[in-house]
């Protein structure tokens, strides 16, 4: 057991490092492929529609419930100190700084990332990507770049909508249901939230998450084994890896930004 452990570890590292290198190369060639003549603007719009607009309803429902639950739980904690006037601050800060970007990215990984991986994976399994190369169409510029940029644009927009709907969801519970004063709710929020420090930093987080989630989804699709089983595996791995990457990256970004 111990004899085979070290060689296996070495083998895994030996395989992981070139994979990471290939994934990074894929990311950069995808990002810079916007200048390639096969990059199509209408394809990018189509992907933004598929990744962003179609995820909108999910985000709105999730944000509404997140905000409402935050208000309930926050009220429960704050009412013991008679500090329910700070409820608006609590809801807005937790949404803008953490829950908005992270939940948007996690939901995006489940809703759009998995679909991306499955789509590209089955393109590979049915040899559509090879067919493109045969026709001298660059699959990186035609398939990958619009999806990558679509994800990078869609996630921050989804996040800003998530934040806003979440805060109004919190308001809906705090003011009419729990009886917190509406004026205090907004006034306390306004006095303690800064546009740059909280709102823009939260959006920067969302931008990073969008890049990472789309990158992982696209990479998993491109590197999937070209079988039905391989595509299934790649889709699962894409969601798991993207979720873990978002949570890990969130820690690093929070330590750096705030």
């Amino acid at each position: 057991m111990s004899e085979s452990f070290i060689p296996r570890l070495g083998h895994t590292v030996w395989q992981t490092i070139p994979r990471l290198g290939a994934a990074t190369l894929l990311l950069f060639s995808g990002l810079f492929a916007v200048t390639h003549r096969h990059f199509s603007f209408s394809q990018w719009l189509r992907q933004t529609y598929g990744l962003g607009v179609l995820s909108l309803l999910l985000m709105i429902v999730a944000a509404l419930f997140t905000g409402m639950v935050l208000a309930f739980q926050g009220y429960y904690a704050l009412v013991r100190f008679g500090a329910t006037s700070a409820l608006g601050t609590l809801v807005a800060l937790s949404l803008l700084r953490e829950l908005g970007p992270v939940l948007t990215a996690l939901l995006f990984a489940g809703r759009a990332g998995s679909a991306l991986t499955a789509e590209i994976g089955s393109m590979k399994a049915t040899e559509q990507l090879s067919a493109m190369e045969m026709m001298a169409v660059n699959p990186i510029a035609w398939v990958l770049a619009p999806r990558l940029w679509g994800g990078i644009v869609a996630v921050p927009i989804l996040c800003v909508i998530f934040d806003l709907i979440g805060i109004y969801g919190g308001y809906l519970v705090a003011v009419p249901v729990l009886g917190v004063n509406g004026g205090t709710f907004w006034a306390q929020m306004q006095s303690s939230i800064s546009f740059q420090g909280d709102i823009l930093n939260g959006l920067f987080k969302a931008l990073c998450f969008g890049l990472v989630v789309t990158w992982i989804a696209v990479w998993q699709g491109f590197s999937a084994r070209p079988t039905a089983e391989g595509v299934g595996e790649a889709t699962t791995r894409s969601v798991v890896m993207a979720s873990l990457a978002v949570l890990g990256l969130d820690f690093i970004l929070t330590a750096l930004l705030f």
């Binding site: 209408s42 719009l45 189509r46 933004t48 529609y49 962003g52 607009v53 909108l56 100190f81 008679g82 500090a83 006037s85 700070a86 807005a92 803008l96 644009v153 869609a154 921050p156 927009i157 989804l158 800003v160 909508i161 934040d163 806003l164 805060i167 907004w186 306390q188 929020m189 306004q190 006095s191 303690s192 939230i193 800064s194 546009f195 909280d198 709102i199 959006l203």
Partner: protein, 160 residues
């Protein structure tokens, strides 16, 4: 889905994002807080500003009439000099006082203005000297406990 309707939907999506960001900036962040940019400047010196911050409100009778723009220490007198911007519609008499209070038990601190009765008004850039700094609750409790323990001074209860 035709290309044209995709264009429309993505356009609406982006506009929604911009609108949400604007609402967040104005309603949640305090970008709308620069309401007193054409207000006039007043100074006030305090011996202790507590946790007063830049952009803390200045209130008269509970109504916000301005905000704190700068807090610095005067190196000669060792007093905190607070600069604030006041709504130009509000003219304050010369003998106006300023105190630092806390909103509720855990709320933020603000400057409360007590208008005087003199006919002359404070000119822009003038300094309010009739001030009362932030109340230090720790110090008050310490003093009370000390007074009680030593049995002298104005104790809080039971002095028969």
């Amino acid at each position: 889905m035709s290309q044209r309707s995709v264009d429309w939907w993505v356009g609406i999506f982006v506009l929604l994002g911009i609108a949400a960001l604007t609402v967040l900036a104005l309603r949640v962040g305090n970008l709308s807080g620069f309401r007193y940019e054409n207000g006039y400047i007043l100074h006030a010196t305090f011996n202790n500003v507590g946790s007063l911050k830049v952009r803390s409100p200045v209130k008269l009778g509970g109504v916000s009439i301005g905000e704190v723009t700068k807090i610095q220490l005067d190196p000669k007198t060792f007093l905190a000099d607070v600069t604030m911007r006041i709504d130009p519609k509000i003219k304050l008499p010369v003998d106006t006082g300023a105190s630092i209070y806390t909103e509720g038990l855990l709320g933020e601190q603000f400057i409360a203005i007590q208008p005087g009765g003199m006919p002359q008004d404070l000119q822009p850039g003038a300094t309010i000297t009739l001030t009362q700094g932030a109340v230090n609750i720790d110090q008050m409790i310490g003093q009370m406990v000390f007074n009680k323990a030593s049995g002298t001074g104005p104790s809080v209860s039971t002095t028969s």
